[in-house]
């Protein structure tokens, strides 16, 4: 048996991609700063610029496909819908057209663009963080900073539960199909097949939570000793620290500027 892969555990874990290899807490910091900055700047061009930036970063991080497969859904579901609602109903003076109580103005369109840019920028930052940061690495860093391992387990198992729910739903749907129940077709047929599944799915999730806590107890999860870790992450470089700190300072300055403008 070739145990070459074990070498990974003897050294800090890296993927070889400089973006993915940023410290998880640096990535969290950047996500918050970059994702929230459009809320401070309040300019839709900046917001869309940030969204574009996240797409470019996802390409550089080598996770464009998984990032965009989720991002376009946010764009379509929330972005487009929000834009329509805002454009149709926000107040404004320069009317472009109106019909059946819907009043589209220049102001409402800008308001729509503004809100969409905010949603896209923040959701882009969040999705990018999730796609470039393995959750076990993130929780490892949290534990290194003194966060309880119970909290880190809750984060990890919550993410796993999402995957488990999807898999269980698929299994139940397949067994429904095997019993001759129509699970495909139009939206109503799908909903008719899916609704009865929700109850067992939730009950199953609740009981598996109980089982999982016993399983973790069997692994001495709450043993009153200091835990050790197989995982080891590289320490953040000076360059990384400077970039994060620089962006943090810019964000704080923007925030101060926004408050000053608001007070004036």
């Amino acid at each position: 048996m070739d145990y070459g892969f074990i070498e990974k555990y003897n050294q800090p874990w890296t993927s070889g991609n400089p973006i993915r290899d940023l410290n998880p807490l640096s990535k969290l910091n950047l996500m918050i700063v970059l994702g929230l900055s459009p809320f401070v700047v309040q300019n839709y061009v900046y917001g869309f610029g940030m969204a574009l930036l996240f797409i470019i970063i996802s390409i550089l991080a080598g996770c464009f496909r998984s990032f965009f497969s989720l991002y376009w859904k946010v764009l379509l579901l929330f972005g487009f819908f929000l834009f329509l609602v805002k454009a149709a109903f926000s107040p404004g003076e320069h009317v472009i057209f109106q019909i059946w109580g819907i009043r589209v103005t220049y102001e409402s369109i800008f308001s729509g663009l503004n809100i969409v840019s905010l949603v896209l920028a923040f959701s882009g930052a969040f999705i990018l963080f999730v796609k470039t940061t393995p959750m076990d690495e993130f929780t490892y860093m949290l534990e290194q900073k003194g966060v309880s391992h119970v909290v880190s387990f809750i984060i990890l198992s919550s993410f796993q539960t999402i995957t488990d729910l999807g898999q269980n739903a698929k299994i139940i749907m397949e067994s429904q199909k095997a019993r001759g129940i129509e699970t495909e077709g139009n939206v109503f047929q799908r909903a008719k097949a899916y609704l009865p599944v929700i109850g067992p799915l939730i009950l199953n999730a609740i009981s598996s939570t109980e089982e999982k806590s016993i399983a973790m107890d069997a692994r001495a999860f709450s043993a009153p000793v200091k835990h050790t870790y197989l995982m080891e992450l590289p320490k953040p470089s000076i360059k990384e620290k400077i970039i994060v700190l620089g962006l943090d300072i810019i964000f704080v300055l923007l925030l101060i500027g926004r408050i000053v403008l608001w007070l004036l």
Binding site: F5, F153, K212, A215, R219, A220, S222, V225
Partner: protein
């Protein structure tokens, strides 16, 4: 000296009308291998939960009687400390996988990480255990994507890697083929030789009879019999209580009925062959 003592233990699960365990009394010694046998839904898993302290600390319900582990009353015991002393392998391997580790290697290491074992020792121990349980080829796989049998082996490996003094093992071979079952019993035998205390629930009576020191027969929540393997399996009246007997014992019984008497009732294949050889001389 008894390590675990039960005196008149009766336990009822929350909301249950009938007790799952009734008036149980027994003593378990360190370094012995106890086989727990009996009909389905007779209380064997509940007995395991009690020995591991999950009753009354996790499953609340109503517990009557006295029970001590290493001299400490079960109700006052710190279950977090108990988890470092008693390893528990569940009946259902699908619920024993943590779900938070990406590879089988990390899954096996999890218990040792929680026990604060140094990294170098963890890596060495995982390799040794994987070779012992014959799962080296699974080490890089995702534990959540394994088959039932593979999960059972990984769950087994994960617990024995923690190297506790006592192991409570609930049907560890339910999803394994005969070859896998045999290898699990060989590992349990190795643990026994390391003076570990083993409490094993298992339906494969031929194997239990071969490896165990003592048997505990549980049915309808009661201890129906407890003692040396030969002593317990000489009582064929237990067949009426749903207890399976080894092929060797059944053969000797059938031959006895035809007037072919044995000096003792054999419980293993080798004992049976030996006795037949002696009888035919």
């Amino acid at each position: 000296m008894a390590f675990i003592k039960l005196k008149n233990i009766t336990y009822t699960y929350p909301l249950a009308k009938e007790p799952a365990l009734r008036n149980m009394s027994c003593e378990l010694e360190r370094g012995k291998f106890y086989g727990v046998i009996g009909e389905n839904a007779g209380g064997k898993t509940t007995f395991c939960n009690l020995l591991r302290g999950l009753i009354p600390h996790f499953y609340r319900g109503e517990l009557e009687g006295e029970m001590t582990i290493d001299g400490q009353e079960i109700r006052n015991i710190d279950v977090d400390i108990l988890s470092t002393q008693i390893g528990y392998i569940f009946q259902n391997p699908f619920t024993q996988i943590s779900g938070v580790k990406k590879t089988v290697f990390e899954e096996i290491a999890l218990g040792m990480e929680n026990l604060g074992v140094p990294k170098e020792e963890i890596i060495q121990q995982v390799i040794e255990i994987a070779e012992l349980v014959k799962i080296e080829d699974l080490l890089q796989k995702d534990p959540n994507q394994l088959s039932g049998g593979q999960r059972q082996k990984v769950a087994f490996a994960s617990i024995i890697a923690m190297d506790t003094d006592v192991f409570v093992i609930d049907e560890p071979t339910s999803q394994l083929d005969p070859q896998g079952t045999e290898s699990i019993f060989e590992i349990i035998d190795k643990l026994k030789k390391q003076a570990k205390t083993i409490i094993l629930v298992e339906h494969k009576i031929d194997l239990v009879a071969e490896y165990a020191d003592e048997l505990i027969v549980i049915g309808q929540g009661e201890i129906l019999a407890k003692g040396d393997v030969h002593q317990v399996l000489s009582d064929f009246s237990l067949q009426t209580r749903g207890v399976m007997f080894p092929q060797a014992a059944l053969l000797s019984k059938a031959l006895s009925e035809k007037g072919f008497d044995f000096p003792n009732i054999p419980v293993t294949k080798s004992e049976c062959i030996q006795m037949l050889k002696e009888r035919m001389r």
